[in-house]
């Protein structure tokens, strides 16, 4: 019953579409939809950002997105629709980098499921962010080390 859509969107060809996410997770039996949208910020660690390049190991990234959806369903039960889309390529400030959404019968489930989606994507998906600064410098963000046998219930709570 759990329906899932996972996408990688090459920014050279298309944009992430928050409306499509809402549409996908909607169902006549669902009263609650929670969506998270991540956008490129103009400032990070005090440095002025021009844009961000996202590099991605596509086949494994899609598998991790699907696992994120499965974890969300494991958390709240099978009556859920989930959506995960991540951009790759060079994004400008304000561009959408990631859109995740969960539709469920009630709102508490939708919030917990949506949070699970984004935490798994952030901490487990093989995606790398290179920030381009106004001063001409570019830096690959320090990230979250993957481990070879991840505990499926493990999601970090720190921000990065």
């Amino acid at each position: 019953m759990s329906e899932v859509e996972c996408l990688i969107v090459d920014i050279a060809q298309a944009r992430l579409d928050a409306s499509a996410a809402l549409e996908f997770v909607s169902d006549p039996g669902f009263g609650g939809i929670t969506m998270f949208v991540g956008r490129v910020r103009d400032l990070n660690h005090g440095r002025s950002v021009l844009g961000v390049s996202y590099d991605m190991f596509d086949p494994l990234a899609l598998k991790v997105f699907e696992r994120a959806c499965a974890e969300a369903a494991a958390l709240v039960g099978p009556r859920i629709r989930t959506y995960v889309a991540h951009a790759k390529g060079r994004l400008a400030v304000g561009d959408l980098a990631v859109v995740v959404a969960a539709g469920t019968p009630h709102r508490d489930e939708a919030f917990r499921a949506c949070r699970t989606l984004i935490e798994v994507v952030k901490h487990q998906a093989p995606i790398w962010k290179q920030e381009h600064y106004v001063d001409g410098d570019s830096v690959w963000s320090e990230g979250c080390s993957l481990c070879a046998a991840p505990d499926p219930g493990h999601t970090h709570s720190h921000e990065h």
């Binding site: 590099d55 190991f57 487990q124 093989p126 990230g143 979250c144």
Partner: protein, 86 residues
């Protein structure tokens, strides 16, 4: 056996082609490839950071690989530095 290693994130700085091919003696485990990759990096890439490799994992297209696992039969792996998506 010949192993083709795709480079992602900061490892792309090491080789603009985005991959490197290494020969490792069979039977080869992931840990053997890690040692060969480190030796290659130290020998050929000024931008290579052993600390980044220590925080990285190897993966096939479908899963992360444990250190004592055998290398995939198709000879294709990726080296994944710490991730920072979203």
């Amino acid at each position: 056996m010949k192993i083709s290693i795709s480079l992602y994130g900061a490892f792309r700085e090491c080789d603009p082609r985005g991959s490197v091919e290494l020969d490792v003696p069979e039977p080869a485990k992931v840990s053997d490839l890690r040692a060969a990759f480190e030796a290659h990096g130290l020998a050929h890439w000024p931008a290579f950071k052993p600390g980044l490799l220590a925080a990285s994992v190897f993966a096939s297209e479908s899963t992360l690989l444990r250190e004592n696992e055998a290398l995939p039969a198709n000879g294709r792996v990726a080296v994944l530095p710490p991730v920072s998506g979203g």
